[in-house]
Structures are given as C-alpha cells and as structure tokens.
C-alpha cells in the first residue's frame, strides 16, 4: 500500500485549507493538501455575500473601526463569543482582505476604484467586501492560484479515513484514493483539519453534498472533543423546497421579507434592524409567522421581495441569486418575490482550538503538539451562539493563515511521524467489509432518514421531547447502518456509493453530539431555541459545551466559561 511523506498535511481545500497552505509555504517547502473533492469544488466557492472588514471605504461606513466590528460580532453571538478570539478576528480583518486584494480577488469597487462595502445582517455599518455575489468563488480561486504558484502538493479526491496518533502527537493520516480505491498513508510532522461544515446532516440545507463533517467525526472517534455543536445556524433565506442559498446580500441591498398578508413582519420583531437583524432573530421571526399560518398561502415559506430593486442592482450585484431564482424557482426576481424558508447553513461549533489553531485535548489546559484545525471544522468561538454573515469567510482566511503558520512552525521543529503497514491494512479491511455489506438498507434512504430527523426534531425550534426522540432515531439509523447496510457497488474504482456510506457514518457520529448538546442546554440562546426553556439563562449557561466520546462509546459532556476581557 502506498505511503506519502510531507512536512505538513492539510485535510480539506476550501478557503481555510488553501489559505493555510499559502501561509505555511513561507516556513516549510513540503506542504500537501488532501481533499475528497477537487479543491475548486469545495463549498467555499459557493459563498455568496461577502467578507467583513472595517475598512470604512464608503461614506456610510466611514466611521467603522475594528472595535465596532468586534462589538457587533459579540452582540450577534449572544453571550458565547470568546473575546480574545474575536479581537484577533476583527483587528486582523483589514490586513486579511488587503492580502486577498493583492492575490487578485475580483472584489467589486467603488467609483474611485476602492474596495466597495455593503450592509449585512447584524453589522451596524456597511462592512462587507464582495465580488458581486460570488465572493467565495473569487477568494477560493485566488487562493488556489497562490497554491499553484507556491507548488503546494494537492491530492484531489482522497477521502480522509483516520488520524494516526501516539500519545498527544499526530503522526499522519490515512485516506483512500477515491479513483483507485486504495488506502494511502500520509505521514507528516504536523496536520491541519480544515474539513469544513456539517450541515448536510439536515434535510433543508444550503450546503453542498460534501459538507458532511468528516473531520468532526474523526475527532470524536479519536477522543478529541467537539465544542458547541448544538449551535447550528439556520439561514433565513433558503430557496423554498431545495434550501439553496439566497444570499443575505439580497437584504443587504434592500430586499424585504413579507408574509402572506404582504406585511414586512420584521417590524414587529426588531424594528431597528428589520430584515438585517442577526440571522437567529430573523429565522425565529419567520418560523413564528409560518407557524401562525402566515406563510404564503398558509404554507411553510415566505417571500423575499426584490421587485423594488433596480435591474442594475439585481444583475450586477446579485447576479448569482437572480439566476438561481430563475433556474430553481422559475421566478424573475425583478417581477415576482422569491419563495424562501429557513435552511441549515453553518456550524458555529467544531473542534476546539487555541488562537493558533492547536487542537485542545480537554476543556482547558493541554493541547496537541502538532494537530491543528481551521475554518468551519474548528471552533474558536468567534461566532459564539450565532454567526454574523460575512464573518465566516473572514474566519476561514484569517485563522487559516494563522493556523498555517503555526502548523508549519511546529512541522519545522517536529519529527515526521510513522505510518505503519498495519494501520493501512486495518483500514483496507474496514473498506473491504463495508464493500461486502449485503443487507437491505440503502445508503441514500438511511441518509434521508437522518436528514429528516435532524430537520424536523433539531431545527429552528427544539424541545427536550423532540431531541430525545431525535437521539433515539439516530441510534436506530446507526444500528441499521451497522447491521443491515447494502452496497450495490462492490468495485474499488471511483466508488461514490462507498464514499457516501463513509460520509453517512461520519454524520451519524456528530449528529448525536448536536442532539446531545442541545438536549442538555436547557435554555435558549443564539441559534439554539428551546420551546420548553425559552429564556436565556446567563447564570447557568454562559458556557461552552464540550462533548467527548468515552470508552464505551457514550458521549460525555463538560463545560467551560466564556472568555471575556477588557478588549473592545
């Protein structure tokens, strides 16, 4: 079986992974990215609205500063933002976006050629830089180009199987080459998990098929904690039915949300910020309207009205979403409102890391020497309980860079790990027995069951009873997966059914953590809303949830306080 050796191995080639690789190349020559999809298919390329930085380039935003950005982010995060991490994020934002400008991101401009900025939810000033509504595409492609320029080794279509660890050191990773079906070992001096988000576990989701939280599951299986997983962001404007994202930029550019009476209902929920209130507030308002029968024709969607915007705004600043509305809802947004409903969008939680991206062993204190995480897979708690739009691309590139640097420095000091033949043989056996699965449960059907459970019982509104039910259903699906899975495709070559099965196994792993964390958190905060505990409880619950998998496979929960300080 094949083995590769690199100084630094980065798993995942979205914005965080690509940015980390660029930063790492300043310190080490031999950097590799492994990605289960071609890196240019990563979910980052679909990010639409923008990236936040307090440049103050527009007249309306000229008084902006990192402190205002900091305060907006803390306020949006509803009491769970770690202030030190948020300070790093907001202070560093201008530098992070100017680097992207140098790398050639096609940012939209003001008349005099400066980086233009537009309003976004929860940000009090226009702070979002944007490349029409293809901002993620522009950023990922520019970062990809830098990776080509710097000679980063990219292994496309390699699926992460496991971490190889000894004590508190990571030795490398195992993966399988999707094209050949062969198990491959990557030994490394340090490893970054930049494996992205996990909202494919939900039925209505804006995320692509690859956002299956593989890194989170592998962390859990290796005794590494995950943090704040109950905080799943639901985006207000998924296209009704499919959940495809209609960017918040549509509201940033002036779009309205209307109920069946044609009323801008946000005026009853947050009259100051209206449609640009933080996402958790907008989503709850929408769900309230739907539940009281004010969805369009009494159904479960509302209207996003852009008909009053100019053609120029629609086709120059919002071309992607205008096209999406046409292609997937048969709606011309200049003439007809777009049908929208809340859609699972982003995970505020993830693998807990230090400010340099070092993965934590426990709630406090000890960290791994050479294992790192970045991007949506990581939890720095810069978003707290509810992320503001445009802060995620910022987190991905800003902390991507920091983590890339730290991991490269660790690699320079460290020894290359050992990947044994036994490790590979064990994984090969695992794939072999999965391929031999000959029950009657199809991967697609089981995945749909999980997605329905998560959307219906662990969605915008939750309750103890529903979450208990969700936990039981997940156990049933797990059992079905273990005992009665069926694969049609028995071959090794480009077996996407096998890949889907591994992804489902991963989703079942972290879905339990989402449900568990949500069940224990008997309060409402940010994106986590309990109908049976509708109040926020700062006395008891201004804490981060840590979930670790114990020896017997049970999840153990513990908590740590939020880090607040004097900054800002």
């Amino acid at each position: 079986m094949k083995k590769h050796e690199h100084d630094l191995v980065i798993v995942g080639g979205g914005a965080a992974g690509l940015r980390a690789a660029v930063a790492a190349r300043e310190f080490v020559d031999d950097v590799a990215i492994i990605s289960k999809v071609n890196v240019l298919r990563s979910h980052s390329v679909t990010a639409q609205g923008g990236i936040a930085a307090s440049l103050g380039n527009t007249e309306a935003g000229k008084d902006d500063s990192w402190r205002v950005h900091f305060k907006d982010t803390v306020r949006g995060g509803d009491g769970l933002v770690d202030h030190d991490a948020c300070e790093v994020l907001t202070r560093g934002a201008p530098e992070a976006v100017l680097e992207l400008n140098n790398m050639g991101v096609p940012f939209s401009r003001t008349k005099d050629g400066r980086l233009d900025q537009r309003p976004f939810g929860g940000h009090r000033l226009p702070r979002s830089l944007y490349a029409a509504d293809r901002t993620g595409h522009g950023i990922a492609y520019a970062l990809y180009g830098e990776n080509v320029r710097l000679g980063v080794n990219i292994y496309d279509e390699y699926f992460l199987l496991d971490l190889l660890t000894s004590e508190e050191t990571v030795e490398g990773v195992t993966a399988y080459d999707i094209r050949s079906g062969e198990v491959v070992g990557f030994s490394a001096k340090s490893v970054i998990l930049a494996t992205g988000g996990c909202t494919q576990a939900f039925e209505y989701t804006s995320s692509g098929a690859a956002s299956t939280g593989d890194g989170l599951a592998i962390a859990l299986r290796n005794g590494i904690p995950v943090e704040d997983m109950e905080f799943i962001q639901f985006h207000p404007t998924g296209l009704a039915g499919s959940g495809i994202l209609i960017s918040e930029a549509a509201r940033g550019e002036g779009g309205y949300l209307l109920n069946d009476d044609g009323e801008r209902f946000m005026k009853r929920y947050n009259p100051d910020m209206m449609e640009l209130s933080p996402r958790d507030q907008v989503v709850r308002a929408m769900q309230h309207e739907i539940n009281r029968g004010k969805g369009i024709d009494g159904g479960n969607h509302l209207h996003l009205d852009l008909t009053h915007l100019s053609q120029r705004t629609l086709w120059e600043k919002l071309p992607t979403i205008s096209q999406i509305a046409k292609d997937y809802a048969n709606v011309d947004p200049s003439e007809t409102p777009i049908p929208v409903q809340p859609t699972a969008h982003y995970c505020m939680g993830g693998i807990p890391v230090t400010l340099d991206g070092r993965v934590k062993l426990h709630e406090e204190g000890k960290n791994w020497d050479n294992l790192f995480a970045a991007g949506e897979a990581a939890c720095l708690s810069v978003h707290g309980a509810n992320r503001l739009g445009t802060n995620s691309l910022l987190e991905a590139v800003l902390f991507g860079k920091r983590v890339g640097k730290a991991a490269a420095k660790a690699a320079r000091r460290g020894e290359r790990g050992q990947v044994g033949g036994d490790d590979l043989a064990e994984k090969d056996d695992m794939l072999g027995s999965l391929l031999a699965s000959d029950g009657s449960g199809r991967v697609g059907a089981l995945r749909c069951q999980l997605q329905e459970t998560m959307s219906s019982r662990c969605g915008v509104f939750r309750s103890g009873e529903e979450l208990e039910q969700a936990a039981a259903e997940i156990q049933d699906i797990k059992r079905e997966f273990e005992e009665n899975l069926h694969l049609d495709d028995k071959g090794r070559t480009f077996n996407t059914e096998l890949r889907s099965a591994l992804e489902l196994k991963n989703m079942l792993e972290f879905a339990s953590a989402i449900v568990n964390g949500g069940y224990e958190r008997t309060e409402s905060r940010g994106s986590h809303y309990r109908l049976d505990f509708p109040e926020k409880d700062d006395g008891e619950w201004a804490v981060h949830t840590f979930i670790k998998k114990g020896q017997g496979g049970n999840y153990r929960l513990s908590y740590r306080p939020v880090r607040t300080g004097e900054s800002g």
Binding site: L40, N102, R134, Q323, V443, G444, G491
Partner: protein, 242 residues
C-alpha cells in the same frame, strides 16, 4: 398524473469486461415534480434507489462548483442546471447522458480531469510578478478595469467548453478554451505585473492561443454564458501586441 421519463446512460466500469455501453433507466415523475426535476436530481434518484454503482460527480447542486458537467442530449451541460422538461423528451425518446467527450473516462460519467487542470496550472492562474503578501497598501482597480476581466472571472472550470472543442480532441496539448479564458482573466487583471512569462506560454501556434480556430462549440457549451471565443480573440490581441 405520473410521467415516465426514459434515460440512456453511458456505463463503463474498468473492473468489468463489459466495456462501454448504454443502459436504459426509467423514472416515474409526477407532473407537479417534473417542472423542477434536474438531470442531477434524476441521476441521484436512480443511484440511490435503483443502482448504487451508477457513478457521477456532483457537489454544490446549483451551478456554482463545476463538478457535474456531462454530455446530455448531445450538448455539454451541467447536470444540476439542466431541467428534464427543457430537453423536450417525449414518448419514445430518451434523455441520453454520456461523460464529457475528449477526456479519458474513469468510470460511467466520471472523466479524468488531470490534464485539464494541468493546463490551468500552466497558464499561471495567479497575480504574477508582485509581492502579494507584504505590501499591504490597498491597490485600487477602477470599475472599468474590473469590467475588462469580469466575465472571465466567472469561469468555474467545469470543462464543458474544452471538452466540446475539436482542436482539443485532435491535440491534447492545446490549452483549450477554459485555460485560455482563465489566462486572460489573470493576464489582464490590472493588479498583475509580469505579463511576459504568461505570454510566452500563450504565444504558441498549436498549443497556445493560436490553436483556436473559432469553431464556437465552446461558447454554446459554457453553462455560465461566457463568450469564450470573444475572450480568446481579445487574448490574441494581447499576445500579438505584447
């Protein structure tokens, strides 16, 4: 009312002796759902409910990532952006799906895109000749300068154009329309400093920009509506006046 949609899908499994062949599938779709059904939806349903070995790439599902380009009823398209109703299949006709032409096939609808991405790397898809990290002045770009490259920045590297190009079919070293559009995007970015190294690569009778014979297949194939030939013609002007 249910409608039966017929599919002919090109299958190929290198691990079997069967060789490349077409297989028929039928899908019952309600009239109500039919309007929304994309070719990707249909492929996913067939894979998940009928034959798990049916193999194709897909990721974002809404025309942004470029994973699912394939030959659908004789035209290169993204499966996720192609609605079955728009293919006007009636009784007795099929939705016929094959892998992108001109690329080696790995399995079923999955092609080997290594050479395609190798060409993309050859055109230097980055700002060249500038210190991109240390100089943190905000470099301006006028809306006009941005406009010049805007259309070319929309490329999603799906391969639909290059796969449709007869010149590429005859000469696999020809960079092809996607890489040339991408070359224009980086060459003509006002922030790019070094023009000569890239022009050196592009200025080649056979493999570079002069390989384009203006067949226009690529324009028709592009799912993003990029006028690839117009951009390649602009690129020829850039190269010849360099």
């Amino acid at each position: 009312m249910m409608k039966k949609i017929a599919f002919r899908i090109n299958r190929y499994d290198p691990e079997s002796n069967e060789g490349s062949h077409f297989e028929k599938f039928y899908l019952d779709v309600s009239e109500q759902k039919l309007g929304e059904l994309t070719v990707l939806d249909a492929l996913r349903e067939l894979k998940e409910e009928r034959d798990g070995s049916l193999t194709f790439r897909h990721t974002c599902g809404h025309g942004s990532c470029g994973s699912c380009a394939m030959l659908i009823n004789e035209k290169n398209r993204l499966a996720c952006k192609t609605h079955v109703v728009d293919l006007e299949v009636d009784e007795g006709s099929f939705v016929e799906i094959s892998p992108l032409p001109g690329f080696p096939v790995i399995k079923d609808l999955v092609v080997d895109d290594e050479r395609f991405f190798d060409h993309d790397s050859q055109i230097m898809p980055f700002i060249s000749g500038k210190n991109t990290v240390d100089d943190l002045e905000e470099e301006r770009q006028t809306p006009g300068e941005l406009d010049r490259i805007m259309e070319a920045t929309e490329c999603i590297n799906c391969g639909a154009c290059t796969s449709s190009c007869p010149t590429y079919w005859d000469n696999e070293d020809y960079l092809g329309p996607a890489a040339l559009v991408r070359a224009f995007r980086w060459l003509e970015d006002s922030r790019n400093v070094d023009r000569n190294s890239r022009i050196g690569i592009l200025d080649d009778e056979k493999d570079g920009v002069w390989g384009c014979n203006k067949v226009f297949n690529c324009v028709e194939a592009c799912p993003k509506g990029i006028d690839t030939v117009a951009i390649i013609e602009e690129l020829k002007r850039s190269v010849i006046t360099a």
